[in-house]
Symmetry: C2
Subunit: 298 residues, 2 copies
Amino acid sequence: MQPIIFLLPIWLILTMTSTSSNADNPLTTQSVLEASSASDWRTPKPENLLYLILESNQVVFEIAPEFAPAHIANIRELVADRYFDNLSIIRSQDNYVVQWGDPAAGSDKAKSLGNAKVELEPEFFRKREGLDIVPLSSRDAYAEEVGFVDGFPVASDTERSWLTHCYGMLGVGRDYAATSGNGAELYAVTGHAPRHLDRNVTLIGRVLKGIEHLSSLPRGTGELGFYEDEKEYVKIKAIRFGHEIPEQDRLAIEVMRTDTDTFAKYVQSRTFRLHEWFVDPAGKIELCNVSVPARDKD
Amino acid sequence: MQPIIFLLPIWLILTMTSTSSNADNPLTTQSVLEASSASDWRTPKPENLLYLILESNQVVFEIAPEFAPAHIANIRELVADRYFDNLSIIRSQDNYVVQWGDPAAGSDKAKSLGNAKVELEPEFFRKREGLDIVPLSSRDAYAEEVGFVDGFPVASDTERSWLTHCYGMLGVGRDYAATSGNGAELYAVTGHAPRHLDRNVTLIGRVLKGIEHLSSLPRGTGELGFYEDEKEYVKIKAIRFGHEIPEQDRLAIEVMRTDTDTFAKYVQSRTFRLHEWFVDPAGKIELCNVSVPARDKD
């Protein structure tokens, strides 16, 4: 989530809490969040949360089975086989992506994919039909229409809908062949939305928590930000889906529903920025700047 | 600069160099860069390069005097007074900004601004008149028209033009008062373009080299990404303009001119992505994804 206030010296920050809630104005982001009720939030199913567990922290993504069922099924196979355990983050390219998987992929020493498929039909887009899209009334450089489905940013043409490469989105790396993405190499967007990748690669979800652990990794000095020395690799302890994790270790998190009045007000608060810092609120908002809120459950 | 290829295993990367140049296709990014001539590039004046010199690396920005002459003049005063030397990077907020200045600003222990002004009239925008704008024929969520002036991304309405908050842009932090930005606190954009800040804060330039040293900094755990413990501060050795730096230490860098056929072809190559990896090139490009190339001079 983006902050409300922008650039203040520290002494002002310390006195901010009491003044930043403005009861007279119902449409600051803070007031919208404060006025939200329990029914404005949903708790993702444990089996739809993907935990990327590193040595000292973790990143949690929500997956979007409606958009990439075959890829997600394949990743479930890989996770069930413990394929990712002890593999590595092998790439961090500035203003672009962080990528993880088997450093030996493609060589003789590659880890077996077990029961998972090696090739999959791409799921770069899906039929628009059957999706409940909450539209965002905003111009978009890349698509005629944009909006949200269950918290995920989507774009559409008349026939097709696809998840969009916003910051924190989770995708499936591939080689030249469109069928070469199988889920054994995953990436997260850590820079300005590379929307030219939309419909060219399969996206499967978005981050809910911990993306800063990926976005702050040192950039690789090799071509495309690959780490050149394996000492730079960041070890993956495990990837698990939520239902495979002992209950006491599961993240208690909820996500703002996007099919509610509260979400409409939230978007409005991000669009008009009635916070007193702003002298000339945009009155417009771009899809990837909406950032659907997620929060720790009490 | 963005790479051309996207997600490849390492063994493929190693064989890539020979295949990624495609002589039959004049409009891949690589072929456009290779076909560019010396006159397609310009060498920024040393006095327009701002060096942020840290302990073990540096970040170099080009400033845009046409957009913020008063702020840049004030920063020249501060730099001449060595105001920034031994100050710190005090904030890194994920998907947003890195900020630097005096941690004691606003307190009794604040460093004196010397001959520099404490308040300045905002330069959030300027008259459109008198600017040579190279238009980008692209929809923009925030402005009716977007384009480039001397390599800087700009947006306009009928009367006004302003620099836009793209990744790597350099700005002047301010408090609540619009006149409170004076250049003593600077920030760089290190996340998805926060375009809602356009026309609300004075931008003064954009990065040419080294932004990864800022974007990979650990995120601050305080509100708005401020570092809570001063041990987390990243020390600034100095800020200098290029002409103040011994000639042998100056960066030899050149920037692609944006008023040329070559730049138009570059934009086209980024729009249509004729590289063989892409199966469904966007045919569109958003302002902040253009990223005007800069390169080391031979």
